[in-house]
């Protein structure tokens, strides 16, 4: 494995719940302060903030500045990149670049939302704002967003490769199994195949159990320079992102994504192969997504993602532990879940994951797909052991 390009020195989450009773800015500030403390730093050490424009700090038009103001910080680096659920991981990549250029020393990447408390979303989905130029052309058919796009992807995957409802459910069963070992997960009961089969259809073939939670929650990750090691820092050895379609109408495919590009690139940069990966954190807004990502990242042949999960490889004790905190399907999903992928990978690679700790995972791969058009934005990050 190649030497690190950056270090993650601190991580924290706050307010993960179905109704936090707190504001998004307060949760963001709490996660930020906890991540700084986790790194053994003080707020004075931090000179960069990255808060995605989708974080619903109110009114969220300048979220990084809003958080800096709230915390009384003067920052030299401000990033509000919006790439859907992938935003926080894309912002980690940007932070690595900025630190390497010497524009700043330490960047806090923060995401926060209280969308469950605000009852902004439902399984029936929400619609893009009327102001968006593509909305009048996506909307009339009544496709719910974002589940409908994932339902179309799942239906096509089943048609092309014979993926089954039981295999989709296996992703949820895997996540729910891991969540029973995570005291911070919001759904900690295991899911049986019978329960999955009885789950009501929302947008076929996806059922309720195929959909992520809708929760409150905030997360923060502190990114520092490669040489800024601490006893508990985790190195980032490779990263890659790729952005394609904004609308499902422009998607070249709904069964293959640009994860097929970012995964090999990030692993190549890190000097590791697929066989070195001991842990994956894959974005799972809907069960079809990890199945496609496992294929595109190279963990199995195209079309075999369903059988791969159904065979139990992603479960505790399996050869590729996946979404060990319970993922977006069981841990939490306050919108842009990407930040929680990085937090859990760091906890696992530090060996601090408690009852769900994977024995010696060595190298972890985080991958987020975001944007709502079945992975318009793709980002892969490879992390190594401490130091």
């Amino acid at each position: 494995m190649n030497g690190p390009l950056a270090q993650i020195t601190g991580v924290a989450e706050s307010g993960v719940s179905f109704e936090s009773g707190r504001s998004a800015i307060e949760l963001a500030a709490q996660a930020a302060l906890d991540a700084v403390a986790d790194a053994g730093r003080t707020l004075d050490d931090i000179d960069g903030l990255a808060v995605s424009k989708g974080a619903d700090l109110a009114p969220a038009d300048q979220p990084s500045l809003e958080l800096a103001d709230y915390l009384g910080m003067t920052i030299r680096y401000s990033d509000t990149t919006l790439a859907g659920g992938a935003s926080p991981l894309v912002q980690i990549c940007h932070a690595i670049d900025a630190i390497a250029l010497g524009r700043c020393r330490r960047v806090l990447v923060v995401y926060s939302s209280v969308q469950a408390s605000r009852k902004e979303r439902s399984l029936g989905g929400h619609r893009r704002a009327d102001t968006h130029h593509i909305a009048p052309f996506e909307r009339p058919s009544g496709l719910p967003f974002p589940i409908g796009v994932n339902a179309l992807a799942a239906a096509r995957h089943m048609w092309e490769y014979g993926t089954t409802l039981e295999q989709l459910a296996a992703v949820a069963i895997s996540d729910r199994t891991w969540a029973t070992r995570n005291p911070g997960a919001l759904v900690r009961t295991p899911l049986s195949p019978d329960e999955a089969a009885a789950s009501p259809v929302i947008s076929s073939p996806l059922r309720k159990i195929d959909c992520c939670l809708i929760s409150d929650g905030a997360g923060a990750v502190l990114v520092e320079a490669a040489e800024s090691t601490t006893a508990r820092s985790v190195g980032i050895a490779g990263f890659s992102d790729c952005h394609r379609q904004y609308s499902v109408l422009s998607a070249p495919s709904l069964t293959t994504t640009n994860a097929a590009r970012t995964g090999p690139e990030a692993m190549g940069m890190a000097g590791v192969t697929i066989n070195d990966i001991g842990l994956v954190q894959l974005y799972d807004a809907f069960t079809i997504l990890p199945i496609v990502l496992l294929e595109d990242l190279g963990f199995c042949e195209k079309g075999r993602g369903g059988p791969f999960v159904q065979d139990g490889h992603t479960l505790p004790g399996g050869r590729l532990p996946m979404n060990t905190q319970g993922g977006g399907l069981a841990h939490a999903h306050p919108g842009f879940y990407g930040i929680f992928l990085a937090i859990e990978a760091v906890r696992q690679l530090r060996g601090e994951a408690g009852e769900r700790q994977v024995p010696d995972p060595r190298v972890g791969l985080c991958h987020a797909a975001g944007g709502g058009a079945f992975g318009g934005s793709q980002v892969s990050i490879v992390m190594g052991g401490p130091g």
Binding site: W159, S203, S204, L249
Partner: protein, 145 residues
């Protein structure tokens, strides 16, 4: 309540933007062909295409809540545009004809009906990936003016 399909001959033409330089078409309509920087021309036609994927919606937004369950198809039209359409009684890889039709609770929307020659098509080779990324423009450099 499911939607009732209109008769095939009632489908009204859909407007797409067409670039006469690179032969790309766009739905939604736009004046500029981004890849080759030329002005597009509007074209109105009932389109033929293939159902790429299909979902039956059981939980919907406020506007269509009374219509559930209803079907939505993502159709890849022969001219190279994808359109989200209402439909009834079609399946993935079916050959369809797409046009505008008034659908109760939805308004005037793109709607897919099974193509008259659907059965012949089903014996042909299955379509592969969407051709937009594959078909190169006739001359890329010429487009930069």
């Amino acid at each position: 309540m499911s939607t009732t399909a209109p008769p095939l001959h009632d489908l009204e033409p859909i407007e797409v933007a067409h670039c006469e330089h690179c032969a790309r078409s766009y739905w939604y309509p736009r004046r500029l062909c981004g890849p080759c920087n030329r002005t597009t021309v509007p074209r109105r036609a009932v389109l033929d295409g293939i159902v790429y994927s299909l979902t039956e919606v059981h939980r919907a937004n406020v506007a269509q809540r009374e219509a559930v369950p209803y079907l939505v198809a993502l159709v890849r039209c022969d001219i190279g545009v994808s359109i989200l359409t209402g439909c009834a009684d079609v399946s993935i890889d079916d050959r369809v004809r797409v046009g505008l039709a008034p659908i109760p609770l939805f308004g005037i929307i793109p709607y897919s009906l099974k193509h008259p020659n659907n059965l012949e098509h089903r014996n042909e080779t299955r379509p592969s990936e969407f051709p937009r990324d594959v078909a190169p423009p006739r001359d890329d450099k010429e487009g930069i003016e």
